[in-house]
Symmetry: C2
Subunit: 357 residues, 2 copies
């Protein structure tokens, strides 16, 4: 994963040298907020409360330089193509390392990865879980989608269908949600929705929540349980931990590439629309949901606000926060032994055992 | 509560002018940690994800200046006496505001407050919950103990026994734990332990966890459920959020008064002892536990690490994190209307309904 970050930084440098013109985007001018705190410079040592394996990850972290958002469709497409290469390599290598096989298959006209682990648990012998990959809505498609799908398939001993949904710039919202709903409709012809989990991390967590809202709006059967890992739930606002934890998370900053990708994803749709920013959704009747985040995760606020929203609606919703983890760190167990990653898989196993039919 | 902070700052200023000589204490020299991150100065605006009432609290926050720890028993006693005055006033005023009555009573030789709300729910007609007050182990006793006890009694419609445990400098560990265990032994002669919750915030959360460990060691019946609000669980280490969130939480900093109070509490006992730092405890067989913290809480790391420890031991443990809350903010509903405080009470109600016999 560290290697990916280095590659990322390298690729970004190359790309910037291609003279894409862009400037830093400001979300809501700070001057419009009341009660600004100025935090002085401080030294933050490595944390004491993590495993030795996690400590190695923490001390090797690199915060990337500011990455501006592309300003033309062509430049977005270039960047997308560049970014998906290392992610795809990790996806393929991880599948091999963990003995997970896959085939690419069209389901309801949507490109999907059907992922099969070496061993399938009795518990999940008859079902496929549905995975929605992350990557800031724009990236992480193709073979990159295998990463979390492989992690969950091997860790939970379950077959997974990963939806390689259509992405911006060519296909902004609602393409991703429509693709997920289409795959869901097809899948539940053959398996019990109440026995099926829908899951994803980051932008994937957003699309998991948004698609569930869409299913609810359509009156279709909902999944039996959701896993939303450090989900981006408020695309309209730079929520608190984007400020307070800046400088600690390799995700970098909200301005520039990330907000640009969010805006690109929303497209013509109001970025506060509950299907784009699920923190604004009426989640009454949602299935039991498990959420993960970390104390150094820029999306910690997005995650805990969504948890509160689910709880306020009476949804069984479990929150697990890992000390000193940044955005999606629990997935790093994909490429190396990481006790915190195994712990996350145990929580998922427990949660699905309890809530899936 | 804001008023309390102002008074606090004022009193501290008075006290410092009394020429108590003390210098900043450093816990573990930063130079001994690997992987130090330097965080630059940053502006943190008020958060978007809170209620209007919470927003007012956030924008009025004052971070107190550095407070050194007293260096003699006499100075600790002076400071203790000064600090307990405003806390006691709030306790008494809150009892009156919320129509909660109380009497001071000795139970098993320990001074306790027996707190009775205006209305007692049918659910809890026959039981007393047991409350352990916070206040950095040294402060928060006497009438101050009424604050959280009144909040819970009125909010949950349950009678509460608040243990006014013996405190340092005269009575370091294990006095607080011994007092709690003594009250517990006496209480469970007349009521079902499985129907009884033990709860507290901050140092109170620590003593709740430590006393439960002690009961387990003694082979005594355990409470039916625990509430540990933003508990101080690692007194030996300055955990991650003490660094990352410094400057946001009116608790100030770990060095000086707070670490001094922790050291004073541990006394002759190894500060890493599981009965002093419960994050090190074997919590197998612990009762279901609910934990609260906030994304600006200096004890967020202490809280989430304890949650992980409970989960690793297979204990049903629920974590609720409030966006932008600092240490114990949910208790501010004691003196004003605060939706987040009502939300916390609902979570407690739900949790106790589910887990208490």
């Amino acid at each position: 994963m560290i290697q990916i970050i280095y590659r990322f930084v390298l690729l970004v440098a190359v790309w910037i040298s291609l003279c894409v013109t862009a400037t830093a985007q400001e979300l809501i001018p700070i001057s419009e907020y009341p009660g600004i705190e100025t935090l002085g410079e401080r030294k933050v040592p490595a944390p004491v409360g993590v495993s030795p394996e996690m400590l190695k990850i923490v001390v090797s972290r690199q915060i990337p330089p500011f990455v501006p958002a592309p300003t033309s469709e062509e430049d977005w497409l270039k960047l997308q193509a560049i970014f998906d290469v290392p992610g795809g390599e990790v996806g393929l290598a991880s599948a091999e390392r963990l003995g997970v096989t896959y085939e690419v298959k069209e389901i309801a006209g949507v490109r999907c990865y059907v992922v099969t682990p070496k061993e399938i648990g009795d518990r999940f012998a008859d079902v496929f879980f549905v995975h929605i990959h992350g990557g800031a809505f724009v990236f992480g498609g193709g073979d990159s989608a295998l990463r979390e799908a492989v992690w969950a398939a091997a860790g939970l001993k379950v077959r997974v269908i990963s939806v390689d949904y259509r992405r911006p710039p060519l296909h902004p919202f609602p393409a991703a949600v429509d693709d997920t709903v289409a795959v869901w409709r097809a899948l539940i012809k053959d398996q019990d929705p109440a026995a099926t989990a829908l899951f994803g991390t980051s932008a994937g967590g957003n699309i998991v929540l948004a698609s569930t809202l869409k299913l609810k709006q359509l009156g279709l059967p909902l999944p039996g349980a959701l896993f939303a890992g450090t989900p981006a739930t408020d695309l309209a606002n730079k929520t608190d931990t984007w400020y307070t934890l800046e400088g600690l998370d390799p995700l970098g900053s909200r301005e520039g590439l990330i907000q640009g990708a969010m805006d690109l994803y929303a497209g013509e749709t109001d970025i506060s629309d509950p299907l784009v920013s699920p923190v604004n959704a009426d989640v009454t009747g949602f299935p039991p949901t498990i959420l993960f985040s970390g104390t150094r995760d820029l999306l910690l606020s997005d995650t805990v606000r969504m948890h509160r929203s689910l709880r306020a609606a009476g949804v069984p919703a479990d929150l697990h926060i890992y000390d000193a983890q940044t955005h999606g760190d629990y997935l790093q167990g994909l490429t190396q032994f990481l006790p915190e990653s195994d712990d996350a898989l145990l929580e998922l196993q427990d949660f699905f055992d309890e809530h899936l039919k």
